[in-house]
């Protein structure tokens, strides 16, 4: 079926100023669509703010009209959701400024949109202010001294950044319709910049005519362009064809309590070390072991924004049942494994009581506190404990000393998640021992 028009002819004329070229451009888009003859129910015209943003209402297609400069972003959401649709974006040069970032990213993705950038060199809707495409030295209502800025060359920029079809034409060019049709038929990202005339503002400020436009084109490097790249896959198709290189399990292991525990009352433990010391994951193993032993466990972690440097602290609360106590401020057990850890968690030591315990690396002593103090001396083990294994080794030793829950539960917790270093962990656990703790 050959269609007669994609425009709502009954609604005409278009709402633009006399002499404005937007209407001519819309007619040409219509002509381009007629050449291709797609089902209008498979087309979405997406527009945003600016005079050209009024035009979606004249199309007999699906339409979405949104916020200034964001049309390209809505269009990508639509394309990803319904890849079978043709998405036509109508935007002005104003939108290409405020939403330029979206244009760049859409081009980089090579997502299947056809963008018609209607560049009339100024903000027509708000009174002719200069935009990112206003040529240098030209007058606008907000740059009466002559525009001080260099104009953004959008097709060139987008082509450099992955767009697979870019073109620039003046609104009166004879081949505009066929260029538009090619852009619409293109599978990946396409953009056609159409140099337009705004008689109300830019035109009147700069005594603009077709001859002036041609001068502007040659003097300001706005040459007619047509560049196309074949063979690059469109983003949506690529998305659905590409599998994750490394699948991640989202479910956490089911924990059925089957061990006894020896915990009398709620126990607050703080383990403070450095990033890279596997503090957080080691404490999670202990927490799971506690749950396997019928206890409640809660873990909070503290680290700076740069996660691979500085301190790493875990706060662990174990209890017979769920308890709400807020932050731990006076831990029953404070483990300090590094200078970073001491700097951050040393503040708890003075608040601790005589029935509480501090375990601290020997070289970090002395520490002021009424709590019972132990120096951690890894030389006692006759083996080298690497930084990443230290928390695990010390916690294993602590478990053997404090006996709040059975080692069997800890071993089961290690096996819950498939860890690369499981064997190493079992060996370390075997070698761990309270002999590394020396009363200080």
């Amino acid at each position: 079926m050959k269609r007669a028009t994609y425009l709502d002819e009954r609604k005409k004329p278009f709402p633009f100023c006399p002499g404005c070229s937007h209407g001519k451009v819309l007619e040409k888009i219509n002509e381009a669509l007629l050449k291709l003859n797609p089902d209008p129910k498979k087309i979405v015209v997406v527009s945003d703010i600016g005079c050209i943003g009024l035009s979606d209402q004249w199309f007999l297609t699906h339409a979405l009209h949104g916020l200034h400069g964001r049309s390209v972003a809505y269009a990508q959401g639509i394309k990803l959701s319904k890849p079978e649709l043709k998405i036509i974006v109508l935007m002005g040069d104003g939108a290409s400024g405020i939403g330029g970032h979206h244009l760049l990213s859409a081009a980089r993705r090579n997502i299947g949109l056809s963008v018609f950038l209607c560049n009339n060199f100024n903000y027509g809707m708000t009174g002719g202010q200069h935009s990112v495409t206003t040529p240098e030295n030209y007058l606008t209502s907000s740059s009466l001294q002559g525009n001080l800025e260099e104009a953004l060359k959008i097709p060139e920029t987008l082509y450099l950044n992955g767009a697979t079809f870019v073109a620039r034409r003046a609104y009166y060019d004879r081949d505009l319709i066929s260029v538009m049709a090619e852009a619409i038929a293109h599978e990946g990202f396409s953009l056609v910049e159409i140099l337009e005339s705004c008689p109300a503002y830019f035109g009147s400020y700069n005594a603009f005519s077709k001859q002036e436009m041609e001068k502007l084109i040659s003097n300001k490097g706005l040459d007619r362009k047509y560049q196309k790249v074949n063979g690059k896959q469109e983003y949506t198709q690529k998305y659905f064809k590409t599998k994750l290189k490394k699948p991640v399990p989202l479910s956490s292991p089911s924990l059925v309590p089957r061990h006894k525990n020896f915990l009398g009352k709620k126990l607050d433990i703080v383990i403070a070390g450095s990033a890279g010391g596997k503090i957080i994951s080691t404490v999670s193993i202990l927490a799971r072991a506690a749950i396997l032993s019928g206890l409640y466990a809660r873990q909070r972690d503290d680290y700076p924004v740069t996660v691979r440097s500085g301190y790493s602290i875990s706060f662990l609360t174990l209890g017979r049942d769920h308890t709400e106590t807020g932050d731990i401020t006076s831990p029953d057990i404070l483990l300090i494994l590094s200078q970073d850890g001491l700097n951050r968690a040393g503040q708890y030591a003075p608040k601790m009581r005589a029935n509480q315990q501090i375990y601290i690396m020997g070289d970090l002593l002395p520490i002021k506190s009424r709590a019972k103090k132990f120096a951690i001396n890894l030389d006692k083990t006759n083996r080298h404990i690497s930084k990443k294994n230290m928390a695990f080794f010390v916690l294993g030793s602590l478990l053997k000393q404090e006996k709040m829950l059975p080692l069997e539960a800890f071993k089961e917790a290690i096996q819950l998640r498939p860890l690369d270093d499981q064997d190493e962990k079992f060996l370390l656990l075997e070698k761990s021992s309270p002999i590394i703790f020396i009363p200080a």
Binding site: L67, L85, Y239, V256, T323, E324, G326, D327
Partner: protein, 378 residues
């Protein structure tokens, strides 16, 4: 009996997946980065759509485009991202776009404290955009309730065709604890109503057609068999721009009424009222469970104490609040901000009733002992 040891973020992502969310667009930010990461991988694994936008505005805009194409869409961020979402949330309100927005609060304003907890975006979430319309803000009181509340967020968003903010904080999102798997209840899933033809107007689809002002217009996606038109600008029932005062008024009253008249659908609260109690504790967010502990301790000391846990922060569950306030002399409202929610509760107080706003803004948690001692000192 089976437990798991996990964090709020993982539970949020799992409930999103189970609720049928099939479009995610987001931009990483602490403390919501883990949420972003899990959504990006999990959605891709399931053949659903997830994309990392170039910024928060791109992300929410993609989600709006997707929702209007029929997807159950979601975006997620923290306070700084919510600032950037502002205008787009207005779009979602105006064009009646179902959309769930997860906000994991951190210390603000501005870049604030990226890994420091604070729950001070409560009123910001409520008044996030221009136009003064009601906004739905849900806030889980425990990790277990995340599951059902997230599905509720989608249900409200889909059935009332409105953006819903799911507000939580670093503390809830990243703390891990023992979770009783039996308490993870999703509830029923309710999707938006698709247009099937209409008695008075026939088979022709009119995108914003309603009979009563509180009605929710039937939905057809972009790309449907009938042409549809959506817009962020003031529009008539056909989605065409209008300045006609009658049509403008109809639209704005409709946007207000569809939330307020259907408030009962949104309400989520847990009353634990003690007849004859002179004290009412109101808990929300991460302090909900600490408030339960406070009330337990007051009661174990032989005093009567009522407790109201609120998960639908806005619109306020007025009926439940009024009932809980009956006969009470003082209302205790602990918050991890300068007392922001207390401002919304105050208009409901009768003469002689006072509010004890207990606040903390240093990034640390309020505990039961401190709340109790601050109640005593007042």
């Amino acid at each position: 009996m089976a437990f798991e040891f996990t964090d709020g973020t993982t539970l949020m992502v799992r409930s999103c997946i189970l609720s049928g969310c099939n479009f995610y667009a987001g931009y990483p930010i602490s403390p919501a980065s883990k949420f972003h990461l899990l959504m990006m991988t999990e959605m891709a694994q399931m053949g659903r759509i997830a994309i990392q936008g170039e910024d928060e505005i791109a992300s929410i805009s993609m989600a709006i485009g997707a929702s209007l194409s029929g997807k159950k869409a979601l975006t997620a961020s923290s306070g700084p991202g919510l600032s950037l979402y502002s205008e787009s949330i207005g779009f979602a309100l105006m064009a009646e776009v179902p959309l769930v927005i997860v906000i994991i609060q951190r210390m603000g304003p501005a870049t604030g404290g990226a890994t420091t907890n604070l729950e001070a975006d409560v009123q910001f979430a409520r008044w996030v955009t221009s136009g003064g319309l009601p906004m739905v803000v849900l806030c889980p009181g425990s990790p277990e309730s995340i599951f059902g509340l997230m599905n509720h967020a989608f249900n409200v968003s889909e059935t009332l065709r409105t953006p819903v903010i799911f507000l939580t904080s670093k503390e809830m999102a990243l703390s891990k604890e023992r979770i009783d798997s039996r308490k993870l209840l999703l509830g029923k899933i309710h999707d938006r109503k698709e247009f099937q033809g209409n008695r008075s107007r026939g088979k022709k689809y009119i995108p914003f057609n309603i009979d009563k002002l509180s009605d929710i217009p039937d939905f057809l996606p972009l790309g449907a068999n009938q042409l549809v038109r959506y817009t962020s600008s003031m529009h008539d029932e056909k989605g065409l721009l209008t300045r006609d005062p009658q049509k403008v008024k109809k639209k704005l009253v409709h946007l207000e009424k569809k939330i307020l008249v259907n408030k009962k659908i949104i309400d989520r609260y847990l009353p634990d009222l003690d007849a004859g109690a002179k004290i009412l504790i109101i808990g929300y967010g991460t302090l909900s469970r600490i408030c339960q502990e406070v009330s337990r301790r007051i009661r174990s000391g032989g005093r009567k104490c009522s407790l109201l846990t609120i998960e639908s922060l806005f619109p306020l569950p007025e009926t439940a609040l009024k009932k809980a306030l009956r006969g009470v002399e003082s209302v205790v409202l602990p918050e991890l901000n300068s007392g922001l929610y207390a401002e919304s509760v105050k208009p409901f107080l009768k003469e002689g009733q006072k509010i004890i706003s207990i606040t903390r803004v240093d990034g640390s948690q309020l505990d039961a002992g401190e709340i109790l001692s601050r109640i005593r000192s007042r």
